[in-house]
Each structure stands twice: as C-alpha cells, then as structure tokens.
C-alpha cells in the first residue's frame, strides 16, 4: 500500500504529498507520526508548505497545519497552492484568517496569514506585444523603432538609435541615442547596465551627455525617468520598481 503521506523538500520548503485513497483521519495520524519521528531532522527552520495529491478543504488544511505545528518545531511561513507553479508563486490561499485561530499557535499562524491577506500579490496580465527584443549590438547607423517597449540584449553604440513608444531597457552599454515614450508618454523609463547615452529623450523631455566626459564610467545599472519636466538618472535599487509601469 502506498504511504498515506509523503514529505518532500523543494526549493522553498516542504511539499506534503497526500494519498488520495486514504481517509482523512489516517492522514492526520500518519502526518503526526512522520513529523514527530523526525522532529530533530526538520528542526525549527522556516518553510513554506505545499499540499499535493488531494484537494483539501480550508478546514482540513487548518487541521493539518495544527498537526504540523504540534508535531514539529517548523516555522511555517506560508502555504503555497499546489495548483500554481512554484516558481511563480503569485498568490497564497488564505488558509486561515486571523480570527479563526485560537489556542497556542495563534501567534505563528496569524503571522503567516496576515502577511498574505493584507498584501496579496496580484497577477499582472502583461499584453503579449508589450515589448520587442533585440539580440546583438546596435552599431552606428542602426536603429530600432517600435510601438512597444524595446529590450536590447547587447550594447547600443554611439550613433545608434533606439526609439520606443514604451520603455527602453538595455542589457549592456547604452552609448547611443535613446527615446522612450516617443508618443509623449512621460511615465516611460530607460534602464541600462551602463548608462552613458549621447542623447536621452523621454516623451518631450530631452537630455544629453555632459560635454566634459569623465575618464572612466562606472557601470552600475541605472534608470532614467522624468520628474518635474526633468530627466532623473539614478542607480537602481529595489524601491524604484514600485513606481514603474509597463506601457503598451
């Protein structure tokens, strides 16, 4: 007979594979036994949980979580819906709402759920034609013009032009002329791994490289955007993404 419960590790934590054929009380017992037996092995690490094999009701999930918490010292950070690809963990089912939980583990679980209830990560459906890719170096005299965003995988040399209705992202050196939001969209931005364009235009705002060039350009990924009718270039940090939009 197949085991009632199988526990597997994955990149993010543990996957608990439940045998569909077995009734729920057997599952509970098996889970408790397995975890309790190897309490030392699992330790008190932070894990995410995924249930697979059987579709569980909210009540059932809640019960199982309680068992896991009593049988082991694991710190459950979140529960991942097995229907979703692990790599694109987008939304976590709210297994438990804070009010539903009493008893000793309240703290832990409410922590878990509140994290995900307050801040659900929404799936953004990005239109298919949001961006075009160009692979290779753009040399002097070559240009890309597009009614979408443009992503250049390569360098943009002096004398080359990139013009997009949307954003421009250069995975490489940007030395040429670049125009983002060419139809007047001032929320467009330009990102480059090494930002030293001859000319940079976003919508109608225009900037050019300083006449006196520094000897060595430090290559830090930077972003250019418009604020108060002026182009701002700054280093990319994680806060910057909150204000960005893709443009179609």
């Amino acid at each position: 007979m197949k085991d009632a419960i199988l526990i597997k590790g994955n990149k993010y934590g543990l996957t608990i594979i439940i045998n569909d054929q077995v009734d729920f009380s057997t599952i509970k017992d098996a889970l408790f036994k397995k975890l309790n037996d190897s309490r030392k092995f699992f330790g008190s690490s932070k894990v995410s949980l995924t249930f697979e094999g059987k579709i569980l009701s909210t009540e059932e999930q809640k019960t199982l979580i309680e068992i896991i918490q009593s049988a082991s010292d694991l710190d459950i950070v979140c529960i991942i819906d097995s229907q979703l690809e692990l790599s694109q963990v987008l939304e976590v089912k709210s297994v438990t709402s804070p009010t539903e939980i009493e008893n000793k583990n309240t703290n832990e679980i409410s922590n878990v759920s509140s994290m995900h209830i307050e801040k659900p990560i929404k799936t953004q459906i990005i239109p298919e034609n949001a961006a075009i890719f160009h692979k290779g170096t753009l040399r002097s005299g070559q240009e890309i013009i597009a009614d979408s965003s443009i992503i250049v995988m390569g360098n943009v040399h002096n004398g080359a032009t990139v013009a997009a209705k949307g954003n421009v992202i250069v995975i490489g050196k940007l030395n040429g002329c670049v125009h983002a939001g060419k139809d007047g969209n001032a929320t467009a931005f330009v990102v480059a791994l090494n930002m030293s364009p001859t000319q940079l235009r976003i919508a109608d705002v225009f900037g050019r490289s300083p006449d006196k060039k520094g000897k060595k350009i430090i290559s830090i990924p930077q972003i250019a955007y418009v604020e108060d009718e002026r182009i701002i270039i700054e280093n990319i940090n994680r806060n910057i993404y909150e204000n960005l939009n893709y443009i179609n």
């Binding site: 170096t137 753009l138 040399r139 002097s140 005299g141 070559q142 360098n155 040399h157 002096n158 004398g159």
Partner: protein, 265 residues
Amino acid sequence: MSEVIVITSGKGGVGKTTTSANIGTGLAMLDKKVVLLDADIGLRNLDVVMGLENRIVYNVIDVIEGNCRLKQALIKDKKYPNLFLLPAAQTRDKDAVTPEQMKKLCEHLKEEFDYIIIDCPAGIEQGFKNAIAGADKAIVVTTPEVSAIRDADRIIGLLEANDLHDSRLIVNRIRVDMVKRGDMMSVDDVIEILAIELIGTIPDDENIVISTNNGDPIVNNTSCPAGKAYFNISKRIIGHEVPFMEFQSEKGLFGKLRSIMGFNN
C-alpha cells in the same frame, strides 16, 4: 581553399590601401598565390603603392565588360611571381560595376588564387557595396581616433547586415608615447568600443610614408616595426599563432617585469 578578404574602414585615409598592399605582399612572401583587387574605381591608388602604375594596360572594368581576358589584366608584382594586381579603372566611377558582377569576378579569381585581397573605397555607397559583394571575410582598419572608430563601427554594422560576421580589426597608427601620456586611445580602448576581434596593430612609423612613395610595401622590410606588424598580420591570416607585438620605446618597471616573466599580450 581560397578566401576573399575585403579591407575596409568607412573613413578615408586610415590606411586601407597601404594595409591591402602590405597584407597582399606579406601573404605572397608566405608562398601564397595572391591577387590584389582594387575596388576603388575612379580613385585608384593600390597600383601606385605597389609601384606597378606604369604596367597597367587593362583594368577591372575591361575584365567585367569583356574587353579583355582576366589574364591580360592581371599585373605580376616586381618581386613576387605569385602576387598579382587587378587595377581599378581611373576614367570610370563606382557605378560602372554592380555587386553581382563583382561577385562573379571574385568567384572567377578564386579558381586561380589562394587569397583575393580587395581594397575597398572609403564611404558606404556603391563602391563599398561592390567591394564587399564577393567577400568571405572582412578586415576593418581604424586609427585610434573617435571619427575613424565611429565610421568603423558603422562599417561593422553594415558588414554584419551583409552576412560578414566575424570581421577582424586592425588598429593603425598607434603612437605608444601618446598612449602612455593618455593623449591617445589605447588598442584596448578601441577594442572595447568596437567589440570585435583584433588581428593586429600597426605602430605609427614614418618609414611607411617613405615606402609608399617608393612603391615598395613596407612588409618587405621586416626590421622596422610597421613592416614586422604587417607580416605578423599576414601570418595570422593563414592561421599561424603569432603573439601580439608590444611596441615600447622604453620599458618601464612593469614592462621589464612582464618581459622577464615571459608575458606577451
């Protein structure tokens, strides 16, 4: 297996013709059967640099238009019996030839010769299109100046658009003293900008002017640095591994250390 190599630069005056003459002669010195094809119709120079001006009877237009046989138009070099020149016409212009005709001519020459070296005219117009039409490989000549580099970049783009992908770079007229002072771009800077593989560097050498005026390619004189550099490029073309020369007027401490340790970049 024969190869058609076009020597091009975009900008004028960076040394395409000198390079063509010297590489052609260098390959002939290495016992290859070589023909130099001057594609600069209307502004021919290669014959002058080779010192063969007085022997021209027929030219490339005559061959293409069928006024003569190919053999009649080929001029044998003074020194090397396996080196030939197919001169350009001086009285016509670039529109007298089409890329298809050039392609056909190159195919024809390939049957006879190991290497066909095409001297490309400056610019990106008809003459350039003709010159690259039959080419298998391209060598881009540039000097360490922004204008020449910008044009070279454009040329590399156009070559790529015409399916000539692995172009090689010659950086001409390097002046070591100026590079050291930081007044001239170094070879590494140029490569960094153009992002193609180097095949050789030529130091600035007044002997080149002398040899050009005498109609005697400098590669014949391998005792001077420029001649040696051209000969090394010829060797690299036929597949020899030749380390890149270090042009140094005087070695600093670091240079000395490097040569002691046997580094050669």
